[in-house]
Symmetry: C2
Subunit: 289 residues, 2 copies
DNA sequence: AGAGCCGCTGAATCCTTTT
DNA sequence: CAAAAGGATTCAGCGGCTC
């Protein structure tokens, strides 16, 4: 079990528009970590690249909430922005990132790999992979010109570009036995995970009527982001778009105070019910001292 | 062994600047596939390239060779552009891609994963991973603020954005046991690989008079790009920056005519020596009929 | 009784046709 | 010719059944 930060962290879930409510509830530079996955679609069809007005509206709206996050974030805080992609618009995530680059420094780009094929013959001398295998959930796409998308971005933005991270908090074990002894003293037998994170997509299969939100990220994703920034450095975490509450659950599991917003009361109710459930075991797979 | 295209494909390796030589050697729209890894302008110690152009000069130079590739490429051709990242400028690859978006349509973005950690507990019900394992070579980076980089981009550009691909040519086996036999007939027992490709980093150690080539990609990378586009549709492939000749080797192994350029004769000589070696077995791991 | 076979369902989807 | 709607498609997951 990972060490948690506080015994009984606070969790405020506020019903309303982040752009309206955040200025009322969040003091300047009072949040140490933001992790979120913004809505792709605001009810306007911004996906059509010829619909300049709608697309511009989306970019403008992105710019405004980016500015509000900047106001709320501490000078040494971190923003982890999860953005997925549609095969038919592979650059959309980077268009969003471009807006944030006007407010923040892009310090790291992490690649969330939801599914990948590992050939046994490619593994080399390390045992552990015994046959060709696809790890993770594969979601087919009907297209002759697009390959399937099994990837999402996690952009790590900071104000200075120089925020120190706790890389070993989500470290992975050394592979080579000789390195384990040589370097074990330094970091507890683990080294930096790198920027490709294999996190299986949750395979929970709701029936359509039970699924209040089309997509969310697994709890482990915000958990890993928080630990990478450094749990003990986070007095309060924030998510402007709570959705089903994965980021709130992550904060709860790590003992971090949390404030979140969502415009949809149904989502918030669902998030509250998840928070009230018995705490799940920490599934983070990093080796720990 | 994969089927090859032609028995004895031609291979022209031309010593000189692509921007100067290509107009002399390559007719308009006469190349069906381009795969290359341009100098990154990262301050890497290449032999002859001035690899420390100013940012504006680098963008301008990129724009010019992008235009020349556009001239050479067939209307239904594919350009696969491999670009890595430097930790201190995580968006550099996309800045290069932005230049190409002014000439081409970005049809797919493929993520070349050089190393990734797979936890046994994350694999689910499919056997094949028996313990926590890092697949691929881990290259440490000494930094407090940057996680280490185990990823490179492969941008797939086309003129129309509607080039049909041969997704199953680099397909991977079905995962679910109950589905393997059921749908095996449709595509030879494989489905689309998706956009995250695990290819271990090559262990080439090239030294020539203390002037090593700092970067190359494994032969399998251009091989997979060529097969994804469709080997039988490629009359001639091209690489503006041959370097150590991996793309030429890929073309040779698949029986595809090839033309390549490099400003450095030492690199070309090394590429020629690799081409003259006994042909290596095809390491592509796709299942085949 | 566990492995194998089969039907059914769904997906921040894509494609084609119709206004 | 841009936008909307219905059709097509693929493969993992699950449950029920057989042998």
């Amino acid at each position: 079990m990972a060490r948690t930060h506080k015994a009984d962290p606070a969790c405020d879930l506020i019903h309303g528009d982040f752009l309206v409510e955040s200025p009322l509830h969040v003091a300047e530079a009072s949040v140490d970590l933001v992790v979120t996955s913004p809505p792709y679609n605001l009810g306007v069809d911004y996906n059509s690249y010829r619909d300049r007005l709608s697309r511009d509206d989306y970019i403008d709206w992105t710019d405004r909430w980016a500015a509000e996050v900047h106001r709320a974030l501490a000078d040494d805080g971190s923003l982890f922005l999860n953005v997925g992609t549609r095969p038919s618009d592979p650059a959309a995530a980077w268009d969003v990132a471009s807006v944030f680059r006007q407010h923040f420094r892009l310090q790291n780009v992490i690649h969330w790999v939801k599914s990948i094929f590992i050939a046994k013959g490619d593994v080399g001398k390390y045992p552990g992979v015994t046959r060709d295998v696809t790890v993770g959930h594969y979601k087919p796409v009907n297209s002759r010109r697009f390959v399937n998308d099994t990837h999402e971005y996690i952009f790590h933005f900071t104000k200075t570009g120089e925020v120190e991270l706790d890389r070993l908090a989500i470290g992975v074990p050394y592979q080579d036995a000789s390195n384990i002894e040589r370097w074990a003293g330094a970091g507890g037998g683990v080294h930096c995970r790198g920027n490709t994170w294999f996190i299986p997509y949750p395979t929970i299969k709701f029936r359509a009527k039970d699924r209040p939100h089309p997509a969310t990220f697994p709890v482990r994703l915000p958990e890993m982001c928080m630990r990478l920034h450094g749990v003990e450095k986070i007095s309060r975490a924030m998510d402007p778009f709570v959705g089903l509450g994965s980021s709130a659950l992550a904060a709860q599991s790590l003992g971090i105070d949390f404030i979140g917003f969502d415009i949809d009361e149904v989502y918030l109710e669902y998030a509250r019910s998840r928070l009230a459930e018995p705490r799940q075991p920490d599934l983070i797979d990093a080796a720990r001292p």
